[in-house]
Subunit: 227 residues, 2 copies
């Protein structure tokens, strides 16, 4: 399906926002929209001709499997996020839909060419990659020393931020896009430890659980203070 930039909900937040109309139309011609259902695979590790994409709606996970077959989630992608490794000979990670999602997909060659023709686009992608690096290092810092409950608290905090539309406040009530197992894979914990941590956060009056996925923050400030 062809792109419909005019009605795109992330048109002024995604990387393509830096392009002028002409350049964006050129790029749009080489792109296609794609819809994924929860669990659908966008790219798989090892693919040689992996494309790149911008997420319009939904959520994705970027993950690998270690030698014992355990999934390890390295990052999440939220709407307006860029996905793809422009310079890798083949895809390093699996990219999978966490919820039903919509994307614009572009062949890598076209994106690389657009990069040459639009220095602004190159700069925008550099900025995004820099931010992604910061996020990755944040997670790394977290994995390094925090206690289990601190990691879970921090993940919830990040989810609350991502769930809010406005960049200043975090959502106070939202649904987790991840299963307990996925949270565990992301934080380097087990399912049981994640579950116990959530139970404890609830017992301590920091949040309330609504069903299995729903979270309501009671005391957001405390979230940041958990060891």
């Amino acid at each position: 399906m062809n792109l419909a930039c005019e009605t795109c909900p992330v048109r002024d937040r995604a990387a393509c926002a830096v392009l002028n109309d002409g350049a964006r139309d050129d790029l749009a011609r080489s792109g296609r929209t794609r819809k994924l259902r929860r669990g659908d695979i966008l790219f798989s590790r090892g693919e040689e001709d992996a494309a790149c994409a911008m997420l319009v709606s939904g959520a994705l996970k970027i993950a690998t499997f270690d030698t014992e077959g355990n999934e390890h989630i390295l990052a999440l992608v939220h709407p307006s996020g860029f996905i793809g490794e422009l310079f890798a000979p083949f895809a390093t990670y699996d990219v999978v839909a966490l919820t039903d999602s919509e994307l614009c997909v572009f062949p890598r060659s076209e994106m690389l060419q657009a990069l040459d023709e639009n220095p602004k686009l190159a700069k925008a992608l550099l900025r995004r990659t820099e931010e992604e690096l910061r996020r990755s290092r944040k997670l790394l810092e977290l994995s390094g020393r925090s206690s289990a409950i601190g990691r879970v608290a921090s993940l919830i905090r990040g989810m609350a931020d991502a769930a809010s539309k406005t960049s200043c406040h975090m959502a106070q009530k939202f649904d987790l896009p991840l299963t307990r197992g996925e949270m565990a894979n992301m934080l380097g914990l087990t399912i049981e430890t994640v579950s116990r941590s959530l139970t404890r956060l609830e017992r301590e009056g920091i949040l309330r659980r609504n069903g299995v996925r729903g979270i309501e923050l009671i005391d957001p400030a405390q979230l940041g203070l958990m060891g």
Copy 2:
């Protein structure tokens, strides 16, 4: 001191290698070389006007301190590496010399301008940032699940790779640029655990220690196979 690109040992590996002579000379005019002794600070977290730099020789660490004052090392920088956050309002990390080092330092504004004028440079930095992101995620993967000994083994492996000049083979004999404490901070372990892991790797015949810093790999293949 002014730059001497002609005699630069990393002139064909660093990001500036993609520039033609004219463009490189332009950039060189705004840069200065800087020498650091072990322990010297290049940038500190929070600096508003942090510059950016290319490492010519030596080694750096990129680190933060958590709320309890523990250092957490997020990445190492080896010769030809690029250092700096072009789009952050202030520096996110401390950057400190691990050994005596030499760098070319550029004001951020000049680098951003060079980016606009040389799409190739933007592309080169994008590629580097992408690679740095991959390295960060690799470390993240490691921190997630591996046993202590697996993490230490993997760090040693990375050091061996970095210590070799040729990109194909890893060095078989080299000196660790990190103290036990720094290794611990990087891997999310304690000094004692790192020390015990090294002892065990030696006892199992995988490596030999020469003094405190020297490492000689006996069975490099085994390094990759540790839990």
